[in-house]
């Protein structure tokens, strides 16, 4: 993966808001075009994108089967107890 050049770009502060989708549509287009041509922001955006994607994927991993089975059993027990009332 590309290493970011040492010279920091003034637009680098917009990279996180860009990746978060928090910029206006016009600023999003402008930032996408900037990232495509600025060596610093391009390298940083690639890195942060990888970090963010990994975070997202970590947040939706499936539970271990035994933990999941216990969770389901608790649900069944609770709902059965409520129905029996």
């Amino acid at each position: 993966m590309t290493r970011a050049p040492r010279t920091r770009c003034a637009k680098a502060d917009d990279i996180w808001p860009y990746l978060d989708g928090e910029l206006t549509p016009a600023r999003t287009r402008s930032m996408a075009a900037h990232i495509a041509t600025c060596a610093h922001c391009g390298a940083v955006a690639e890195r942060l994108c990888g970090l963010l994607e990994e975070c997202r994927s970590a947040g939706c991993r499936t539970l271990p089967p035994a933990v999941r089975a216990r969770a389901r059993a608790r649900v069944k027990t609770l709902l059965a107890a409520r129905r029996a009332r």
């Binding site: 990746l19 978060d20 041509t37 997202r56 271990p64 933990v67 608790r74 709902l79």
Partner: protein, 203 residues
């Protein structure tokens, strides 16, 4: 040689899967209620393992999330408010569980830790279309991310979990954590810098 043209698109936050489930469950749909109660426990487990501590805390938090979600569902007026409410409930349950175990060593178990016995590691979704090189790089990145997460202060770790992993908005994170939005932004900014620095070697 001309510089490589980089194309990086925004990374969309995961959708709020709870609001529809709440709507269906509150009308008496038993399958929706079952899914909602299971999902609430999923969140509790992930939060516990990522942010708070060990598997014992996780089981306590799951139980708490289950009971409170069941009670809350019939009273909820705004389904969109459920997600931050659930995460706040889970956070409080984890803290209570941790307080009950003050005599035990405080440590953070990896969300991917391979445990002996019945609590095997979580299962990653299939990774179709990726070559072995990418898979190896992702595995390395994942390990570095876990290490970097563990090195964060708990308050920052919680914000990263809620914002980056669960996709809550800044406002929702503030509600879940019981702090101001400005505070969330500060914590998130510090955490991102720390994570970025820690991952430099891998990325």
């Amino acid at each position: 040689m001309p510089a490589k043209k980089v194309t990086v698109a925004p990374v969309p936050a995961p959708p709020d899967v709870y609001a529809d489930l709440i709507r269906q469950a509150s009308t008496g749909d038993p399958a929706a209620m079952e899914r909602l109660l299971t999902t609430a426990q999923d969140v509790a487990w992930r939060f516990s393992m990522s942010v708070c501590g060990g598997a014992d805390d996780a089981e306590d938090a799951m139980q708490e999330a289950l009971i409170k979600t069941y009670r809350y569902t019939s009273r909820i007026r705004e389904p969109e408010a459920f997600r931050p409410w659930l995460h706040r409930t889970v956070k409080n349950a984890c803290l209570m569980s941790r307080r009950r175990r003050v005599d035990q060593p405080k440590h953070l178990e990896s969300i991917d830790a391979v445990r002996a016995g019945d609590d095997a590691a979580p299962i990653d979704p299939p990774d179709p279309g990726r070559n072995p090189e990418q898979i190896t790089a992702n595995t390395r990145l994942r390990g570095r991310l876990q290490q970097a997460m563990r090195a964060l202060p708990p308050s920052q770790r919680a914000v990263v979990f809620l914002r980056e992993m669960q996709g809550l908005s800044t406002r929702e994170v503030a509600h879940a954590m019981g702090v101001s939005e400005a505070n969330v932004k500060t914590r998130l900014s510090r955490a991102r810098k720390a994570l970025q620095a820690a991952l430099e070697a891998t990325l």
